[in-house]
Symmetry: C2
Subunit: 363 residues, 2 copies
């Protein structure tokens, strides 16, 4: 087992990474405040993994909320189901929520924990690669709105993150690849050696080589933990983690949540950011080709869906959390391993860039 | 104009109290971050007072959300209407929400501000006595759930509180009296001289004597500001502000939100806390009589509704944010001017106390 720390003073917490950790209740126990535990999971994950937590849970007063599986259920309405269960079971302010599932479950359980009785503790137990390398770490919680992705939420840090790499054994290939998009993102935005390592190990990663997967998760979490520790509330460098996400969120919102997986939309978004960065003269053509090639080798989309023409795309990205004083800001690339948040691009160049990416776009 | 400060380090903010402050845009302007302002109000208050803010608002990109009036609309569903308006109008993370109305509007607008894009600034402009003396100060925001009052929410401090005492001119008598319940509460829990002052000035207060009203508001806000500054997140003494509220919330939830006003339920709750405190041998009979007499002179209920028998009452108070390790804790009175948070009372005494209060209870 490897343990990393997200250093946030009194709210610091560990990330445990290893095989078989779900069965190790002693990792969770120190982070519970009271005797009540509510497990939040979904219809896919609960039947597979809830039993592994059961021996640990039996020592507590516990219950479960099982949500339907999919980004389309990441709404206020379904978070309200968590509140229903907590109140019906008389869960108190010292109860702990445990998020057992992918990014959707983690975001919703975390948001419910942030708001229930104005804040109760929660623990992340991510079971998808995407949640393990990205969404379970850092305390961003929330839900989608029909007009914008992740527009309603809270910063609420978990008490710990338990990554059991064995849960990836049952993850389908499409979900695995979606997680790889966020892994590639870390290499692009601040870790060029990691990007090069991924170029070398992509085949092994997709073949679920245990050692390669564990290394990719650890390196990703280390990058994420460093950024969150330096800028918890996204006043500065944390925004760089949104590389590819403004474009990606537009795809998810525009197509309807759940049509493309989040990681698939981010993958296309990374390539769109690369295109605009190259047009600005920042990124070399060679580097752009390396990026697109790696995303393609991961089996991920390198272009936005043809269903979203440039004008619609521009409307969608105008609703973004990084808009300030009426100006859209984007995370773009100076080079592989160096991202910047900038409003320093012309509207025409952005439009041309989107149009170019769409040309020949996947349906 | 009087100005108090809620001292919370970098998040400190002023409370301005005076006649005609709604027209003084220069009080609001320094607290706006960007150029977008969303006014949240209700169907009663907006037609009366929105025009007074208009000259100030015209210098900004602004819009309004007008909610129906009443505690029964303090729900996630109606908060979602605020999100709808913000997203439809493309309000960004540097937009500011302005809550113009009573406690319900302030709690909902504050919660929307806490969650929109994971947190935007907001300003409280309370127009009821209850909101002016209590709910607009201190950053408690949230909504009700059918199973429990204020069970979903966030701590999110406003950037400033503007109390225009002229707005009380249009407040109906029932609402005014409801606000007086929270004023009495401050005297009871930590300010015996204020309680004595209220005994002397109750008639003038109810007659809306401007000077007496202004003094009551200022003294209440000063008490609230001191407590919040000392204990923002309710880890200790802030819980004392819930004197009468565990009983009061049970009344509101049990009867259905909006049947009794919040202040009416708190008034009966103060008398119930006094009854139990007297039975514990803490409060003298004389002091209990003074409390009940003052609440009665304020035209407020001194007993819980007969519709809630003791068993139902006990079930309702078991769902309370002050429950810890399975034990109910209540704010009770050592004497007028001294409250304590305690689990140190027998279940039988609590039940007898509720039954005694109900005997002859108002329908």
């Amino acid at each position: 087992m490897k343990t990393l720390t997200v250093a946030l003073g009194a709210r610091s917490y560990p990330i445990h990474i290893g095989a078989g950790l779900l069965a190790r209740g002693e990792l969770l126990a120190p982070h519970l405040e009271g005797r009540q535990v509510m497990v939040v999971s979904n219809e896919t994950v609960a039947p597979l993994y809830l039993d592994r937590l059961r021996p640990f849970l039996e020592a507590y007063e516990w219950d479960q909320v099982v949500l339907p599986d999919g980004e389309q259920y990441k709404t206020l309405e379904y978070v309200n189901r968590i509140f229903d269960a907590l109140l019906a079971g008389r869960f108190a302010r010292d109860a702990t929520l445990v998020a057992l599932g992918g990014g959707v479950v983690g975001d919703m359980a975390g948001f419910a924990a942030a708001c229930y009785q104005r804040g109760v503790p929660f623990i992340q137990v991510p079971t998808t690669l995407l949640a393990q390398v990205d969404s379970s770490v850092g305390g961003k919680t929330g839900v989608n709105h029909p007009l914008g992705k992740n527009m309603i939420g809270a910063f609420h840090q978990p008490r710990c993150v338990i990554i059991d790499t064995e849960t990836l054994d049952t993850l389908d290939d499409r979900q695995l690849r979606a997680g790889v998009a966020e892994v590639i993102k870390y290499g692009l935005l601040r870790d060029a050696p990691f990007f090069a390592w991924l170029e070398e190990h992509m085949a092994a990663l997709l073949a679920r080589d245990r050692e390669v997967l564990a290394q990719a998760i650890e390196r990703s979490c280390r990058n994420k933990a460093e950024i969150v520790a330096a800028d918890e509330r996204e006043r500065g460098q944390r925004a760089l983690l949104n590389l590819g996400h403004t474009f990606g969120h537009a795809i998810e919102t525009g197509l309807g949540y759940g049509t493309w997986l989040h990681g698939e939309a981010v993958a296309a978004g990374l390539c769109m950011a690369a295109e605009l960065s190259r047009r600005l003269g920042w990124l070399s053509e060679t580097e752009q080709h390396r990026i697109v090639a790696l995303v393609e080798r991961a089996g991920l989309p390198v272009r936005p869906p043809a269903a979203l023409p440039p004008q619609r795309f521009l409307e969608l990205i105008a609703v973004d959390k990084k808009v300030r004083a009426g100006r859209l800001r984007l995370v773009l690339l100076r080079r592989i391993g160096e991202a910047v948040l900038t409003a320093d691009f012309g509207a025409d160049l952005l439009r041309e860039s989107i149009a170019a990416c769409l040309a020949g776009g996947r349906q």
